[in-house]
Symmetry: C4
Subunit: 348 residues, 4 copies
């Protein structure tokens, strides 16, 4: 599948990143690739998964593997989701809807960004399992509109992002000037990162989460949790799932990797809620490691955007399909054919 | 000995790898050299041995060193074996028989690959201690033929490979196109890696091992074990030896190194069976470290193939002879002149 | 702010170091940048902070952040101080006073070097919270003059430096010849590093500290402490604050990082005195990590000098202002809006 | 002092290594610089010291530092010794005597190599504290002659080398051809490394040490110990001092660093004998770290040979003098002015 994307040889997902960076305007490519500050967390996210070593089981019948996952009571064909990324129209005119269709084709969930370039309704035409990232803004009217639009368009969950009370130190974007000049093709609640930064509400607290969870017609996922105590508070306040995330290393540089944070959160949550994770996932083996640590599903943000940049919807699909393929092969080689039951002792 | 192999200066085994890669067609060289995925396990295998530090004993009489080893009741002059590698005819027309003769000359065991380019009988002309790697295929008739051919040709053991229920993610071969185009000069059960991939049986279980061990006229070694619990189950099912292996980093990328897995397996096995190991061994000191961790014999896969590529049988022999020489020197310098009794506390 | 400093793109503080090194004569640039010996401690200082990973809290109201700090009973707008660096006139004619004014504008404390190129009085025109670094010299009359001059000029503390009984092995300066040729525009007690080296008193003991603390009209900070037991002795001898420092890696190469030393000192001191720290701080996140480990305020030495070199007072201010900005953003992203109450468990 | 050695800028001891390598024939330079195998131990020796972090004490009177050391009852002005290195005439016509005179001038002990290019008597003209390295050879008559020659020439100790029952895997010398072609200007027991290799006695045991210690008119130091149990056995057999050494990484590649082995040996020996160490020492700080771990004196092998290569006796002296200077400065900066009483808690 990946082979059809490009003239050159495209074998691994790393190839696609290189192709996309070559194809995009530098400022846009850097906007997608970069992280905050010195990119310590960006690098730690990748290294966090790579440093975990597998202890595969042998002579297990892996002829009928299952990658099904259940998140918030909904069935996914593969335990993957597309994590929200801002302003996809900067990368390809197909934008969010193209990626959402790719996710639906791959059997993964799709999370529309709170800074999307297309409306909830436009994206929802893609079908599949749809989540809507929500930033609670200073103007709470905007937030109410957002929730209503998501519900009306048939989204299945709200993903409240809590790791962005202010915008991170995006040196790479300041270098390229993107934060100043980007003018996204906005939509209902869609707004550019630059504009969003001025609207972020730094006064958000657990009480706001409790209010939102109480009023929302959709289940609320809290995205950006990195500690066990916070995970417990989130569930106490009404969250139905916890997404361990550090915003792909784009917000707090120096935060530990999500691979490092995940075990503490899983232990704190127990079976009270689903735990999801994103950040630094580049290979099927990374997904298996996250499942072994207790994640229900695993998110990728930049990967499908590279696919989108290189080949639109088909490119994004090829990426997700390749990742799902790597996941199946890795599960088989680990002797753990059921993605929903990967044991903790698979890790050394 | 190594000096005679090449025009340039050939001193260490690393020199031969470079010479072979220069001599072979790139796709072939990469096929031998490469590992799965990002080659994390390939690298970990090498680093695993290198990171172990030696605590040599002094003033021990090392004037009469012994490198003899007993594996499956058979005496080897040196505790080495040639691990199976596919389709050696791609590298040199002498193919498997040339390497087997080199092993016999060096006093090491030889394991014919289940994807060999020569028949069991052709390879057996080499003499020496001979093992036959076995993949249990979807068509069990092929497996029965394989076992019969090995027994008839006088092999001394079957080496059932259990780390390949499916083929690993061989990005390097997809890049070079080898998996698609290679058409080996096949034989009785010999088949190319590409063809083999379609025949691998992912439904293999411990029951199949038990059946094989019960019916086989030859003792069964289980290759590809990386955990203590699996080693115990293998012995319970009739295995006579355990080969700790991760397929040279060519199957499950992210699996821990064999140096990391070996102690757990040795402890689980106790004296119920022989423990063998391969993966990442490049120096005599690596062999000594594996012996100190409890291995009975230590395998090398790529090294003799580099020798084969550069100098046919003599090249493969030079490599094994050099490794055996390094082993003897290292044993002497460690104050542990008996390869069969290297103490655990030789390692820091 | 940083954008106005240079023609090229200036985004992070690392950019300014490169610009300053390009602008300064090589010997001068190296004098500022370099460390003792093989610069192991210089590198360890940076890595010490970077290696600490953050565990941010979420959904804390960070809309009214406070960076106020109280050191020696005086209020700072930001928990930063400018650590003493010698002979600033080598870098820019504005010299120490320019940096002191920048510190005052940024709300940080300023510590005049004991090898400054301007007098106490000249520097004091800058206003703000002023400290005076003191080397106790062989000629104790010079020391008495120094204390008197500092007191008369309205400084708020003496910072007795105890990590320089002799000059460190400044290979980089011997290489450039700076130690031999530099002739600073000296002042009351100001003297060049080369001249200072001959005046350092290696016989200084705790009794001297006790005497100084007893006689001084100003509170005494002891700078250069790296162990808990020494910190306790310093307080017993009358010190009012402890500055954990290894002289920016310019004295004892091989000394551990200040990030590694800080916890031991904080634990030993308890609430008996304020603990300050410098060394290797390059980012707002480094400051937050130091605060989490118990520092009251955090010093930067080279950073404002790079700013001074590139843009005089405004350059030094831009650096401090940027660092304070990074600090505020990082505190918000950590969910710890009060710089004076950063919890220890913010670190993994 | 170092400044006078060369046309270019010579500041640190690393500069001299580069100068010497540039001046010597490549095979000779490599012979001095290289280690066995992949040079893992050579690198580990250096990293072993560098990785130890110092916790200096402050406000200690360091105005009257003492670097005196007592080894085998003899006073040294500095706790340094020149470790034996073979065939110094390959490097400079002054050869061993030049280095021995440099050592005497610097107040360090000198250990003549068992493969020296000058006789015991020729070297002894240098004066100072003199030790004689001894290889016990197959022809014990040669050994008896060696002991007699050393005693007659007034040497103060025999240094029995026990880490060379056979010659290590000197790939670098095989590469350069040195082991085959070198024909040193030999002397009484002096012989080239190549010739020596054929004479090494691999049957040497503790009984031989006991016999030697019983008959020798000189105290016996055992060189090449790397474990506590061996150190105890050596003392039981009559050794008066233990030299922790791995032959500068030239014998058993993969052996742990001497910095890693030293604490175990010091603890096993207690006050029954002096403990010495060599291997990887390049800086005065390395010497202080070895003293803190319990060494009485610290050896350097390659460093004075680089000095010899660049400047004969004066070059070797400059190196030792610089190292002693770095040692004094480092002791002062550590607040440990007495080299004979460096506390263990100086290390983190």
């Amino acid at each position: 599948l990946l082979g059809s994307l490009a003239v050159g040889v495209t074998v691994s997902l790393a190839d696609i990143e290189a192709q996309a960076l070559a194809a995009l305007a530098p400022g846009i490519g850097e906007f997608v690739r970069g992280g905050a500050g010195d990119e310590l967390t960006l690098a730690a996210n990748l290294e966090g998964w790579r440093a975990l070593a597998l202890r595969p089981r042998r002579l297990v019948d892996v002829s009928e593997p299952s990658t099904e996952a259940t998140v918030l009571g909904r069935r996914l064909q593969t335990p993957l989701f597309v994590a929200p990324t801002a302003m996809n129209a900067l990368v390809h005119p197909g934008a969010e809807r193209a990626v959402a269709r790719a996710a639906a084709r791959a059997g993964a969930a799709y999370c529309r960004s709170g800074a999307a370039s297309q409306t909830h309704a436009e994206v929802a035409q893609a079908g599949g399992v749809l989540w809507s990232q929500l930033y609670v803004l200073r103007d709470r009217g905007l937030t109410r509109n957002h929730v209503a639009a998501a519900a009306e368009a048939g989204y299945h969950a709200l993903v409240l992002t809590v790791d962005a009370p202010v915008l991170g130190l995006r040196d790479h974007d300041r270098r390229s000037g993107l934060l100043q000049s980007a003018t996204p093709q906005s939509a209902d609640s869609g707004m550019a990162t630059g504009a969003l930064a001025t609207q972020l509400d730094p006064s958000l607290t657990w009480a706001d989460l409790e209010a939102l969870a109480g009023e929302s017609p959709l289940p609320v996922v809290v995205k950006g949790i990195g500690r066990g105590d916070d995970a417990r508070r989130a569930i106490d306040a009404g969250a139905r799932a916890i997404m361990v995330s550090n915003h792909g290393g784009r917000q707090l540089d120096g935060e530990r990797s999500t691979a490092a944070a995940l075990p503490e959160v899983v232990e704190a949550v127990g079976d009270r809620a689903d735990v999801l994770v994103d950040g630094g996932v580049r290979r099927g083996a990374d997904v298996v490691k996250a499942l072994a640590l207790g994640a229900r599903a695993v998110g990728v943000g930049r990967l499908p955007i590279w696919g989108l940049a290189v080949g639109g919807e088909d490119g994004a699909f090829a990426v997700l399909d390749r990742l799902a393929h790597e996941l199946r092969v890795t599960l088989a080689l680990c002797g753990t054919p059921d993605a929903a039951a990967v044991p903790r002792d698979l890790l050394a």
